[in-house]
Amino acid sequence: MNTMMKVLKYQARDAIRSRWLIAYALFFLVVTDALLRFSGDPVKAQLSLVSIVLFVVPLVAIVFGTVYLYNAREFVELILAQPVDRRQTYCGLYLGLTLPLIVTFVVGLALPFVLNGLDALAWGRLAALLVAGTVLTCVFTAIATSIAVKCEDRLRGLGAAIGVWLLVTIVYDGFVLLVLAVLSDYPLERATLGLMMANPIDIARVGLLLRFDGAAMMGYTGAVFLKFFSGSAGMVVATLALTAWIIAPIAFGVRVFQRKDF
């Protein structure tokens, strides 16, 4: 077991017992259960959950991640005072933060459905929601970790975290819509797809659209869109883009972390 796994092991133990994570799991348990109860229809509940997952998961991952790592500063120093490698420590910290978030998310979201029982369609959609939430968690804790090591000042760090979240969640899509409206006379298919791939929340969202709104997505007249959505090419591009969104912040964070003075 290398340093990464060891750091991961103990940090995850700490994080998963945190009140905030327990609250996070409860949030999804309550919301999912309430949606199932009030709608009486798993498909309808899942449709509502699409927006909730896309909104809440990145927010919690980036804010909780940043705050948690600021609070763990002395813990990190203690680890680094041991004979350990910084790169591995960083990865351990990242995973020790990410895995508990994923576990709480998955349990909170899936448990009510499992207890409720589902048909095949709903299972597929639940799986898509879980995958999207998991990947978004990975992306936004990666960003949180790099912010926490980059910004010494925790207030600025928290500001940066919320700023990033606002940007990718809301502002960016407004910008895209503006571009589409202003340049509506031009063929924008490729550009639009490119813009989507540049934002992790949009990638996850488009992935969910294929599951939840496949019929509507087939309404595109553009061949590029159709090809993207109906073939495996879109899947491959989206996976690559998301991977980049996880790897890039980690790579940046590791670089900063290796040179960081505590």
Binding site: I170, A216, M217
Partner: protein
């Protein structure tokens, strides 16, 4: 749901025994017309054409198993042509296989294949021209250009045929069941796939289309124009290139049909164009890019239909006037209703909307606040098509919420004033 035609199994057995009785007559030279003529690849009568010269009016030709390849068979006298174990009539890809020009012709139990493809002529497996009382049932048609073609026919039944095209291009593919200037026809229990249009009507009257399955056709599962007073019941139209199109027609009755999985930018579960005084009831629209597209559907009465998991459940063009939508179910659609105008001239009442977020304080099953099914997103998408990719984005949800509070772009009057809280049975 087997054939209701003249020939029930008992009758068939009787005819077969008749055939057995008359068989010795085959040995004698052709003379008087015979009640039953047997055709088989190895027997004395080896073609239907030859048998037609021998059979009596109202008689029966029994076709035994084998592959028959002949010039186009013209049936010009009332006769029953009956296949045993689906003998194959092969058109070799060059000709029409059978032309019926006489009244009271029955064709059943025959496998037709390889009809010729022509660009100047509608070649078919069976073409009925100016005839009445025909019955075409239990046939299998593979690789027909057109399958069953009724031209100026009346009082005919087309029942339980299986018609499979080979899915070439629009140009090299005809329609599975094609009716032109015909009336009082029953089309029932057929399965049509892989053609240009599965079922095609033009200038047809008083015709019943029941319990057919039309799927995987290049263009429309059902396509009809100028065909008044017809009814369509219990049919399934699935996965056709453009769904179903109904145009320039009055008094259409469509009940209990399934319009399913017709996807594409120009695919509609059901396209209504210039239709008046029609009724849509108990139909299920599911998984279509557009469930129901109404363009100039005047006085349409749609009730108790279910729209589920469509891209757009309902696209209403402003040319649609006085349509009423009552007691329908709308669930899991990306967009419930979209329209190209801000003024609404259709009425919605008592429908169930899964997106409805209102409440029902007095517990009477009716929501206390109206439901406005046109979302801002659908207006945006209608104007800037690529914006569809921003669907369910938090930004658009914010805009939707703002629009709901202060409608600026969506039709204010298009609302269900009494939305149902529960699924309408």
């Amino acid at each position: 749901m087997r054939t209701p035609s003249l020939l029930r199994p008992g009758a068939a057995a009787l005819l077969l025994s008749l055939a057995a009785v008359t068989t010795p007559a085959l040995a004698s030279p052709v003379g008087a017309a015979q009640q039953v003529v047997n055709v088989s690849p190895t027997g004395p009568v080896r073609s239907i054409r030859q048998a037609l010269t021998m059979v009596a009016r109202g008689g029966t030709i029994i076709v035994h198993p084998g592959v028959y390849s002949d010039t186009t068979i013209v049936v010009s006298l009332p006769v029953t042509i009956m296949g045993e174990k689906y003998p194959v009539l092969d058109g070799d890809g060059v000709r029409q296989i059978m032309t019926v020009t006489a009244d009271s012709v029955t064709v059943r139990g025959i496998a037709f294949r390889n009809v010729g493809v022509a660009f100047t002529e509608d070649l078919a497996a069976i073409k009925v021209v100016r005839a009445r009382y025909c019955s075409i049932s239990d046939n299998r048609i593979d690789n027909g250009f057109f399958g069953i073609y009724l031209q100026e026919a009346q009082y005919c039944a087309v029942v339980c045929n299986v018609i499979r095209g080979t899915h070439a291009s629009d140009a090299t593919s005809g329609n599975g069941i094609h009716l032109w200037h015909s009336r009082d026809i029953v089309i029932q229990g057929n399965r049509v796939s892989g053609h240009r249009d599965g079922i095609y009507f033009e200038f047809v009257r008083a015709t019943h289309v029941h319990d057919n399955i039309s799927m995987g056709n290049l263009r429309y599962g059902l396509h009809f124009m100028f065909s008044d007073s017809c009814d369509y019941e219990g049919n399934t139209f699935r996965h056709n290139g453009a769904g179903v199109a109904v145009m320039y027609t009055h008094n259409v009755r469509m009940v209990g049909n399934h319009f399913t999985d017709n996807t594409g930018s120009a695919a509609y579960g059901l396209l209504l164009k210039e239709i008046s005084d029609s009724e849509l009831r108990d139909n299920i629209f599911s998984g279509n890019t557009s469930g129901l597209y109404a363009d100039g559907a005047t006085r349409l009465n749609a009730h108790h239909n279910t729209f589920i998991n469509n891209g757009w459940a309902l696209k209403l063009q402003s040319s649609t006037e006085d349509a009423t939508f009552t007691a329908n179910n709308f669930a899991g659609n990306t967009f419930d209703v979209s329209t190209n105008s801000r003024s609404a001239n259709s009425t919605f009442r008592g429908n169930y909307w899964s997106e409805y977020q209102g409440y029902d304080l007095n517990r009477d099953g009716v929501g206390d606040v109206p439901y406005r099914p046109v979302r801002l997103t659908s207006v945006v998408v209608a104007r800037y098509e690529p914006a569809l990719i921003l669907l369910r984005s938090n930004f658009l949800l914010l805009m939707d919420a703002a629009e709901r509070v202060l409608p600026a772009l969506t039709p204010e009057t298009l609302a269900d004033s009494a939305p149902a809280m529960r699924w309408v049975k």
